[in-house]
């Protein structure tokens, strides 16, 4: 039987739920959705459905639940871990039509959005006095729904935190189609923090259909500089000096020579192409504090022997400095036809040692490895460059990238800082987590999705069944007496 035949009755239901024009079944149209931002993986889904409301999402998920068909939710498809990779013969729920900003409550500093709203649209909606801090590089296209799934970070998260620190409420469609509301505009509602467990669950616990976000006032002052050093290790020491001086920069980003050369060829931002490392430091906050601290940062860079320091004199120059950093991934095409990007995190103090190891691995595998990283929080983005047209090179690059991940975990770090596990990094999960750890994760999954139909095959390295909850749930005598209650 063809996939189409298995899904045929379900597709009829989906058409009834969202309108025939919002259900995609043609092979060539389905192909548009076969990958997310990580193009190494491609799976054609059985059908793509584009609901326009919570009610329609609920109808779609219910229909999938009844038919026993898995589903994957997708925002902009800009994720970098294959988190929105479709399931063959499954349904892909694209949330791009749910892009209304439902409420902007500046007095209470909250915004309520649908999942398809882009990250940048939130900051735009609350400008000029407020902003939404999590700012992934893809912020122009990536959606808040996707950000919630991945717990997205960005350049400013060392100081401001991640998506999880800004979500105060969620409306969810659970994998069986039930609608649940967690939190709202207020913080710390009584009861378990299920909201905190949902953010970053990579679409495996259900579909968020409405999201409450906290926004904050724009800083009074922003000062940005880029300093150039002989090597990333030297620049890394400067990062430690700054942080141990009690300064918390809004952003602190590093690029190595290979990334500088790639980005400079692409943006002409004026970065010297012979620099061993570029360190972008941005301070924000009150004007008085910003000025005082900025002078301290300049002095630290000078004392550490910076080859040159460029201070942004106006917003245009600040934009230019950032352009080079933000273009680093896109510009890598100038160095090699393909690259494999990693997202590991290390304790910042282990930087010199881990960079040494990465260099060694690059030599061992005969591949160029560029480094771009969020230096404040130790989040590395090593880009393993390769040419996919050379037989075996892609495999070698992947293996080299895997060794880099291992080196980071061994240094006390993590396999992923912001891109998520998805399909791409699930094989590394056992490097970080024991069987008991993974089994405990599975308990959460099973509470939300006992049949594991929501984004199956992601996050967990090997499939596990949920099984029944052993024994009947016993109410405690105190509960029965109404004296106590359970969560």
């Amino acid at each position: 039987m063809t996939a189409g035949a298995v899904l045929a009755p379900l597709i009829e239901e989906l058409r009834a739920a969202v309108g025939a024009e919002h259900v995609v079944t043609h092979e060539h149209q389905l192909r548009t959705y076969e990958s997310d931002g990580l193009l190494q993986y491609a799976v054609t889904p059985g059908a793509v459905v584009l609901p326009a409301s919570t009610g329609e999402v609920q109808a779609v998920v219910r229909a999938c639940h009844r038919a026993g068909v898995p589903f994957v939710a997708r925002g902009a498809g800009s994720g970098l871990s294959g988190g929105a990779l479709p399931v063959e013969d499954g349904v892909l729920i694209a949330l791009s039509r749910m892009r209304r900003i439902l409420e902007v409550d500046l007095d209470n500093q909250r915004v309520i959005v649908e999942p398809g709203v882009t990250n940048i649209a939130v900051s735009q909606a609350v400008a000029p006095d407020h902003f939404y801090p999590p700012d992934p590089s893809s912020q122009i296209v990536c959606t808040i729904g996707g950000n919630v799934a991945e717990n997205s970070g960005g350049a400013h998260c060392f100081k401001y935190g991640f998506t999880t620190n800004y979500v105060t409420g969620l409306e969810l469609v659970l994998p069986d189609g039930e609608l649940v509301r967690l939190g709202g505009k207020g913080v710390d509602p009584p009861g378990l923090d299920l909201l905190g467990a949902f953010v970053g669950s990579e679409g495996t616990l259900g579909v968020a259909t409405r999201i409450w976000l906290r926004i904050v006032p724009k800083p009074e002052s922003v000062r940005t500089l880029v300093a150039f050093f002989g090597s990333p290790v030297q620049a890394g020491e400067v990062v430690s000096e700054i942080v141990s001086g009690g300064i918390v920069p809004g952003a602190i980003e590093m690029m190595d020579n290979l990334s500088i050369r790639a980005a400079e060829g692409y943006t002409n931002a004026g970065y010297p192409t012979d620099a061993g490392a570029a360190l972008v430091v941005e301070l924000d906050g009150s004007e008085a504090e910003c000025e005082a601290r900025f002078e301290q940062v300049v002095a630290i860079c000078e004392d550490a022997g910076a080859d040159s320091i460029r201070v942004a004199q106006d917003e245009a120059e600040r934009e230019l400095i950032w352009q080079a950093r933000k273009a680093a991934f896109a510009a890598m095409g100038r160095i090699a036809p393909n690259y494999y990007v990693q997202d590991s995190v290390i304790p910042r103090t282990r930087l010199a040692e881990v960079l040494g190891r990465i260099e060694e691995l690059g030599r061992e595998y005969g591949l160029q490895v560029a480094n771009v990283f969020h230096a404040g929080d130790g989040n590395l983005h090593p880009l393993v460059c390769y040419d996919g047209s050379n037989p075996g090179e892609a495999e070698r690059a992947e293996e080299c990238a895997g060794e880099i991940v291992r080196a980071c975990v061994e240094a006390g770090g993590s396999i992923t800082g912001e891109h998520g596990v998805g399909v791409d990094k699930k094989r590394y999960m056992p490097e970080m987590f024991s069987d008991a750890d993974l089994g405990t994760f599975q308990r959460l999954r099973c509470a939300f999705d006992p049949e594991q139909r929501s984004n199956p095959g992601k996050v967990m390295p090997t499939p596990r069944l949920c099984g029944e909850v052993p024994g009947p749930y016993r109410r405690h005598p105190l509960e029965q007496a109404g004296v106590a209650e359970r969560f």
């Binding site: 207020g186 509602p189 008991a436 405990t440 939300f448």
Partner: protein, 346 residues
Amino acid sequence: MDLAAALARSEGTVRVRGAGTKRAWTRGEPDVELSTEGLDEIVEHNVGDLTAVLGAGVPLARAQGKFAEAGQMLALDPPDGGATIGGVVAANDSGPLRSRYGGARDLVVGMRIALADGTVAKSGGKVIKNVAGYDLAKLFVGSFGQLGAILEVSVRLHPLPPATATAVARSDDPDALGRAALALSHARFEQMGLDARWEDGAGVVMARFGGATAVAQAEAAQRLLGDAEIVEDDDAVWEAQRAAQRSPSGLVVKVSALQTDLPQLLRIARDHGATLVGRAALGLHWLRHDEGDHMALVEALRGRWAAAVLDRPADLEVDRDGRVDPGARMLAERVKERFDPSGRLI
């Protein structure tokens, strides 16, 4: 003592305790009580990385003392009283620093836990940025140990500000205080704390600043407020805020409200003879009611907001959490069933 093994061996209902400073917040008497006192090691303090790993039984004050030696702090400052880090996290307690740095959910980056069957597991790690696996630590913050025992927490630290200063505005008009708080929370300042207080018929709004230029920042707030006093030696002011989150023999209700609800909350405090302290920009407030009709206050608050009853007189029977969204409650029960299928952890 191996807490995980003790948990697995125990029979009947169990509760894990730290220093026992928040006993009134729990409900019901367990058959067995297990203590985290053996887990009292500061396992790691990674000065350069601004992180630490603490055994659940470490008294928070002891950890803070150690961090302060390196010019650092864990930005979690609930009323102290000898509480352990495990207890603070399990009860999701917090203090004035919450306004700037977030609560336990925002500062804990990893956790080691023991389930009722003795399974020991970890989630997160010890780096501040990490999205590998489910964030179970958030689920355990504020869980009161009902999903498992917290054995160890990894936290992110912050630099201690070199100096602090506080701008204090006073009024007995709830609306004026509400306006002052909103003006501060919407200003382009970076406040370490933004608190409100109401006591004995009068109130204050206070904004704390830290850094190399704390006084200059407080002066900017003073200009915004028009009429405010600057306190440079401000530790006592903030200590009083923390202290008012507890009542040794009376009632304390924690309310999750919105910024714009402040005047209404202040009036409720006034009308019921309660003391209010809270984080104005977060809408998170503690109403302390030492004597009088406790239930009338609880009902007035729960009529409009989510409100948890924390401290209470031993003879006052009232559930802690009040009304929870039915869907959220159903989901929480499902989580409880998976983590503690025999329902032993209370």
